[in-house]
Symmetry: C2
Subunit: 187 residues, 2 copies
């Protein structure tokens, strides 16, 4: 499932499932959430993309936080993560590309493959990985890494385990793309 295109249908399925599990009709959910019946119907058929305001009302009527509502959506992923289904995101301006190899809510490990184009760099704020432990493994090319206040030069095959959260920069100063894999372990 593409992470962006089909989210409205994933929301539709989840809302219908939560409502069904409680034995509520569309009218009952509409009343509890203070939302129109027509809108619940349209959302459940994937015909509209609900605003954040509306989603909070619905999640609250189900007794869920937004985080738990969305984790229920996202955790429906298969244990098997196929290449063709792995979400890929490309930064339009730099060509930086990210493939999500493994990311399942509740599972304590995430794996992401990154391709950093020649003469590009990307910064990662320390606050991005509070509560996680991170390691990277260079799978092709060379990578300069700023972490813990120092620059490190990594060659193909090298692996680096990060220390405490701090601001990080990944830089590719060569004229070839660099590819590395990020492992995030959650506490």
């Amino acid at each position: 499932m593409s992470p962006i295109v089909d989210f409205d249908s994933a929301i539709a399925d989840r809302i219908r499932a939560e409502r069904s599990a409680r034995g509520w009709s569309i009218a009952e959910l509409a009343g509890k959430a203070s939302v129109s019946k027509a809108m619940i119907s349209r959302i459940e058929r994937g015909e509209a993309s609900p605003t954040a305001t509306l989603l909070v009302k619905i999640a609250t009527a189900f007794g869920l936080t937004m985080a738990s509502f969305f984790s229920r959506i996202e955790e429906k992923q298969q244990r098997l993560s196929r290449l063709t289904n792995q979400p890929v995101w490309t930064d339009p301006e730099t060509g930086y590309r990210r493939r999500q190899i493994l990311a399942q809510s509740g599972f304590p490990l995430e794996i992401t493959e990154v391709e950093l184009p020649p003469c590009q760099e990307v910064a990662l704020p320390g606050s991005s990985y509070t509560f996680v432990r991170q390691a990277i493994w260079v799978t092709s090319g060379t990578l300069r890494l700023f972490e813990g206040g120092d620059w490190h030069d990594l060659a193909e095959g090298d692996c680096f385990a990060f220390g405490p959260p701090s601001d990080v920069i990944f830089a590719n100063g060569s004229d070839q793309p660099c590819r590395y894999t990020v492992f995030l372990g959650r506490m």
Copy 2:
């Protein structure tokens, strides 16, 4: 913070914080998320409630899932949960009322106080509490509880620890409101 009214401003603050931490301008985020600059600006000022489709684009540009994006919003709560700030939700058709005493993302315990009006009942599907352990404590009135295939009568002061997930019904057959506290422990 009311759980519904002010969510757009919480989203605004979080997007601005994530963008700032990455050193991106509004134009850069707009480019990476394939969203108009004007819309990013409006969202960050809390002047619009973004649709789910738009939020997914933004979260993906930040490298976050929707669940992690919202958990970052919701975990900003104080360690001290004051009565006046505890979210209260009332079912418009039954008068069933729920007060969230303690619910912090990442904290392994949730506490909810429920008031069940006379001659009302509420059902809770087993799927609602998969992965959690639950107990209830009757703080006033009497409660009939269907769980694990059997009915149980609980009086004031009684406490019941639930077994494996199964469908549950809380029923108040008396002519007085019943009040009970729900403890959810997360694994």
